[in-house]
């Protein structure tokens, strides 16, 4: 850079570097503590075996599967829900209702996850127990809808935002041709706004993978590999919360750091994807 560096610039630079270093530090912490396991080549063991500390098994396969299943299932529920809601907000509803819905969705982003799960614990869990007829009512099927409710506002706001960015001239053209709102959506807005939709879905998926309280309080936390959605399961995040270990040398400790590392890498990949999709699409335009 050719411009003179001032003292104040160094202050700002320091702040940015500090923040960047913190990000790296979190990664390094995770890496250093899980390194012994990675070096010994026990990683595959760890990823593919199950959790039974009294038998010397510290695998996280069931948790990994539970996390992925939970996130996917909640996305499957939440995506159509959010898309539908964003249709209503962007095109179908009259102005007043639209404003009401949008404020409601905004408000929902502010509801703490612990409150979601607290309410669901006393509302949805007994209900699920009756419906399923067996089990405790705490299962993947119980946690997924609540998780879906959690990520829906994020996705809706993203969807609505990308619909808004569709140029007015394009939507006016449909109006001028006598099209109705849903045709406007289907043939103009969605084709224009789908990059935003993809980004919203990626973000929603990331939030679902990363949430702790809902799976911890509602999914049952059983450590076995589940073979049906109505069974109890433990996500990676809940696993970290439950296995409180304070001894650097213990296997439990190293194993939760591997969980952490997995989640971190997952996030990094997700962010890279997001960035690439944004770059590609903006480059194309």
């Amino acid at each position: 850079m050719d411009r003179p560096h001032s003292f104040t610039e160094y202050i700002f630079l320091t702040a940015a570097v500090c923040s960047g270093l913190l990000t790296a530090a979190v990664f390094l912490f995770l890496l250093i503590f899980s390194l012994p396991l990675l070096q010994n080549g026990e990683l595959t063991d760890l990823l593919l075996s199950s959790w039974a500390p009294d038998k010397g098994m510290y695998g996280i396969y069931p948790m990994l599967m539970a996390s992925l299943t939970l996130a996917c299932l909640s996305l499957v529920i939440s995506f159509p829900l959010s898309l539908g809601c964003s249709f209503v907000i962007s095109a179908l509803a009259p102005a007043r209702l639209r404003r009401f819905l949008l404020s409601m969705v905004r408000l929902m982003t502010g509801i703490p996850t612990v409150v979601y799960s607290f309410a669901a614990l006393f509302l949805l869990v007994p209900f699920m127990r009756n419906i399923l007829g067996h089990g405790s009512g705490m299962s993947i099927l119980t946690a997924a809808p609540v998780l879906a409710l959690l990520i829906a506002p994020t996705m809706i706001i993203f969807f609505v935002g990308s619909f808004e960015k569709v140029p007015l001239s394009a939507t006016l053209a449909v109006d001028a041709l006598g099209g109705n709102p849903i045709q406007k959506l289907l043939y103009v807005m969605i084709p224009q706004a789908w990059p935003g939709i993809i980004n919203g879905v990626l973000l929603g998926f990331g939030r679902a993978m990363g949430d702790t309280m809902i799976s911890l309080m509602l999914a049952g936390n059983s450590v076995s590999a589940f073979n049906s959605l109505s069974q109890s399961a433990r996500s990676l995040t809940a696993h970290i919360a439950l296995v409180m270990a304070f001894d650097f040398d213990s296997m439990e400790f190293k194993s939760i750091f591997v969980c952490g590392l997995l989640l971190y890498i997952f996030t990094a990949i997700l962010m890279l994807l997001l960035r690439m999709s944004t770059l590609c699409l903006s480059g194309k335009r």
Binding site: S50, A52, P53, D54, V125, P126, R129, G133, H134, G135, S136, G137, M138, G220, N221, S222, V223, S224, A225, Q231, S232, R234, L242, V243, M244, A245, F246, D247
Partner: protein
């Protein structure tokens, strides 16, 4: 905030001395705390929390300069955190293993006896089990209440997390170290276990005798019902001591706190919370 505390400390001392006489504790048992200050960290077994909270309340009311923080987390966590020196007093619902004691130089204080009883929903018609049946249920061999004379519904197993002392005792003495099916639902505290079983008509779980109330029904094990009398007499065998432990000889506030738990006032709190005092 600190300054405020100094400011009001004099008023507090007199005010609270008056109060403490009404809260049931003998002033003489609280006397050692006079003039003390500082903070005390306690964590571990969830069965202990109710007793710890009440004891802390009485101590702090007698001397507001003392801060006591109480966390759960389970017996394993209590032993590990105390061993690492992260807390002053660890609570454990099981005796620490010899390995743990020697590794961390732990000192154990047993201040109550507690039984671990099998509980079901009050509407359940099954009233008792044999040891063998219990083991079969938890390993998953018996999976329907019908096989035990109950309704034709699947048995919902509940168990505690691995850090739990209750689980340790139940596994050792109730199940004779038999396996616990991985399909069992894991809950993280005695309170949560009670809640879960009370809300699930086809559940089976186990909780500390001190936590039992009308919301759940205890099952007789080999003909003996778990309650305070049978546990005290030793007739009901799935019992344990409730321990507090410290790294090395306790000193300062930790020692005073442990002394208080073992004093008549402390033991009264133990009894009021449904456990069997050791003195």
């Amino acid at each position: 905030m600190k300054n405020r505390f100094h400011l009001f400390s004099l008023i507090c001392a007199t005010l609270v001395l008056l109060l403490s006489s009404s809260s049931g504790a003998l002033a003489s048992d609280l006397a050692p705390f006079t003039g003390q200050q500082g903070s005390l960290r306690i964590a571990g077994g969830t069965a202990h929390i109710s007793v710890m909270k009440e004891a802390a309340k009485q101590i702090i009311q007698s001397n507001p300069k003392i801060q006591i923080s109480i966390a759960g987390g389970g017996s394993g966590l209590g032993i590990k955190q105390a061993g690492e020196g992260l807390i002053d007093i660890g609570n454990s619902g099981r005796k620490a293993t010899d390995e743990e004691i020697s590794k961390y130089d732990l000192k154990l204080f047993k201040w109550a006896i507690d039984g671990v009883g099998v509980v079901v929903h009050p509407e359940n018609s099954v009233k008792g089990l044999s040891s063998v049946q219990l083991q079969d249920i938890y390993v998953g061999k018996i999976s329907n209440w019908q096989e035990l004379g109950g309704a034709d519904r699947q048995i919902n197993l509940y168990t505690r997390d691995e850090a739990s002392g209750t689980r340790e005792v139940f596994w050792k003495k109730g199940l004779n170290k038999g396996d616990i099916s991985a399909k069992a639902n894991v809950v993280v505290s005695n309170g949560a276990m009670k809640t879960a079983v009370a809300g699930d008509p086809f559940a089976i779980g186990y909780i500390s005798v001190g936590h039992m109330d009308q919301s759940v029904t205890p099952l007789a094990l080999d003909g003996v019902l778990p309650n305070l009398d049978t546990v005290r007499s030793g007739e009901y065998r799935v019992s344990r001591g409730l321990y507090s432990l410290s790294k090395g000889e306790p000193s300062g506030l930790a020692k005073l706190f442990l002394d208080f738990i073992l004093s008549p006032s402390g033991q009264q709190i133990v009894a009021e919370n449904g456990f069997i005092p050791v003195r």
